[in-house]
């Protein structure tokens, strides 16, 4: 007996059943996964743009802007930016004032920098009182004309942050990402 029909029938059946099973599974797990992602996102937005009561999503020029309102007044804009770090991609959530002149908050969504060195951008265990000192520096930082960093010294201007000693590359990467994306996003939103 030729087994040509058998080949076709068996393989088709297996794929059919597989498709059906996976579709069932998806309908069950998707809400949960989406829900989780939403929570994460909202958390990040809430962290970089506190004091809001409504978030409005606007997609434009490759950015998704989350516009935060308080009592019908635009208080800030958040969006996700990414760029190359020392050895991986850095993904950040950036919250800016509506005219993009001031950073309201910054959160690192994902980073795989050198453990114990580059990872200090997120959490510096050697600084017991304030492990997040590096990222907290960005709060209320002015963005104009551009952000810069200094090494082994306290920042003297309101657009400066202090780099992590030994992890200058990671520190510099964040500053670079912010500078380029703020400029691009400005253009996308048509500010000046």
């Amino acid at each position: 007996m030729s087994n040509t029909p058998k080949i076709i029938i068996v393989l088709t059946l297996i794929t059919l059943i597989s498709g059906a099973v996976l579709a069932l599974l998806d309908s069950y797990t998707r809400p949960k996964i989406d829900n989780y992602r939403k929570i994460q996102e909202n958390q990040a937005i809430a962290e970089v743009l506190p004091e809001n009561d409504r978030i409005n999503e606007v997609a434009k020029d490759g950015y998704v802007f989350y516009e935060a309102y308080r009592k019908h007044e635009l208080v800030g804009v958040a969006f996700q930016v990414s760029g190359g770090g020392y050895q991986s991609e850095l993904v950040l959530m950036l919250g800016l004032s509506p005219d993009f002149s001031r950073i309201i908050g910054l959160k690192i969504l994902s980073q795989v920098e050198t453990p114990g060195l580059g990872t200090k951008i997120e959490k510096d265990e050697s600084n017991k009182e304030d492990p997040g000192w590096f990222i907290n520096q960005f709060k209320d930082l002015r963005t104009l004309p551009s952000i810069s960093y200094v090494k082994n010294a306290s920042p003297s201007r309101d657009t400066e942050i202090q780099a992590i000693s030994g992890a200058t590359v990671s520190s510099k990467a964040i500053v670079d990402i912010l500078n380029t994306h703020i400029k691009k996003a400005k253009a996308a939103r048509g500010i000046e």
Binding site: N3, K6, I7, V10, L11, I14, T15, S18, V21, L22, L25, D26, T29, K32, I33, Y36, T114, P115, G116, L117
Partner: protein, 201 residues
């Protein structure tokens, strides 16, 4: 070859034919995800789940699937279960799912699973295939657990997130980096070979 007893069929995966230490299969996830014990354990359990389910189906359908399309059929079966595992991890343990990243979907092309399907489940009954899959999965999980424990303890000073080493211990950062994976795996394989040679003589 002599027919193995049921218990032997299970035990062989733990040591004699251990997929990682003896067959050196599935090294990609072995090296990549074992930065922490919880990751190693999750990866091992996910692979074991896929192994068990696929072994069950493949050995059930071994007479039905024509020889010419067996690989295609196995891959579809394995891919289905991997997707199930992946979705469930993403839905219920999002942190682990994020840490394991692309390595859960990559179980599809893990040589251990396709290898056991091709070499064992397609030739043996359901009971035996399940035992074999369980043994191989257990061997894989245990090896990953040991490997990731060593790496986490030395590289981060913690075990399953618990602070294990004394507080002023300076963690060997290299152990959670890729070289540490190769170094630890190399030492483990050397130790396994050493024990085997000693046992044989």
């Amino acid at each position: 070859m002599k027919q193995k007893t049921a218990i032997q069929e299970f035990l062989k995966g733990l040591w004699d034919e251990n997929p990682v230490l003896v067959s050196l299969l599935g090294l990609c996830p072995t090296l990549a995800v074992t930065v922490s014990a919880i990751n190693g354990l999750a990866m091992g359990l996910a692979a074991t789940f896929v192994l068990l389910c696929s072994a069950f189906l493949v050995s059930l359908l071994r007479k039905v699937i024509p020889n010419q399309v067996r690989i295609a059929a196995y891959i579809v079966i394995i891919a289905t279960f991997v997707t199930i595992a992946d979705r469930f991890l993403a839905a219920f343990t999002p942190d682990i799912s994020k840490a394991l990243g692309p390595f859960i979907p990559l179980i599809i092309v893990n040589c251990i699973i396709l290898g056991r399907m091709e070499a064992f489940a397609s030739k043996n009954g359901i009971g035996r295939s399940l035992l074999d899959a369980l043994g191989m999965g257990a061997g894989f999980t245990l090896t990953l657990l040991v490997l990731s424990s060593i790496r986490e303890i030395l590289g981060s000073g913690t075990w399953f997130g618990l602070q294990l080493m004394w507080p002023f211990y300076a963690a060997w950062k290299v152990m959670v980096l890729p070289p540490g994976a190769f170094l630890t795996l190399g030492c483990m394989i050397a130790a396994a070979n050493w024990i085997n040679t000693r046992r044989r003589s």
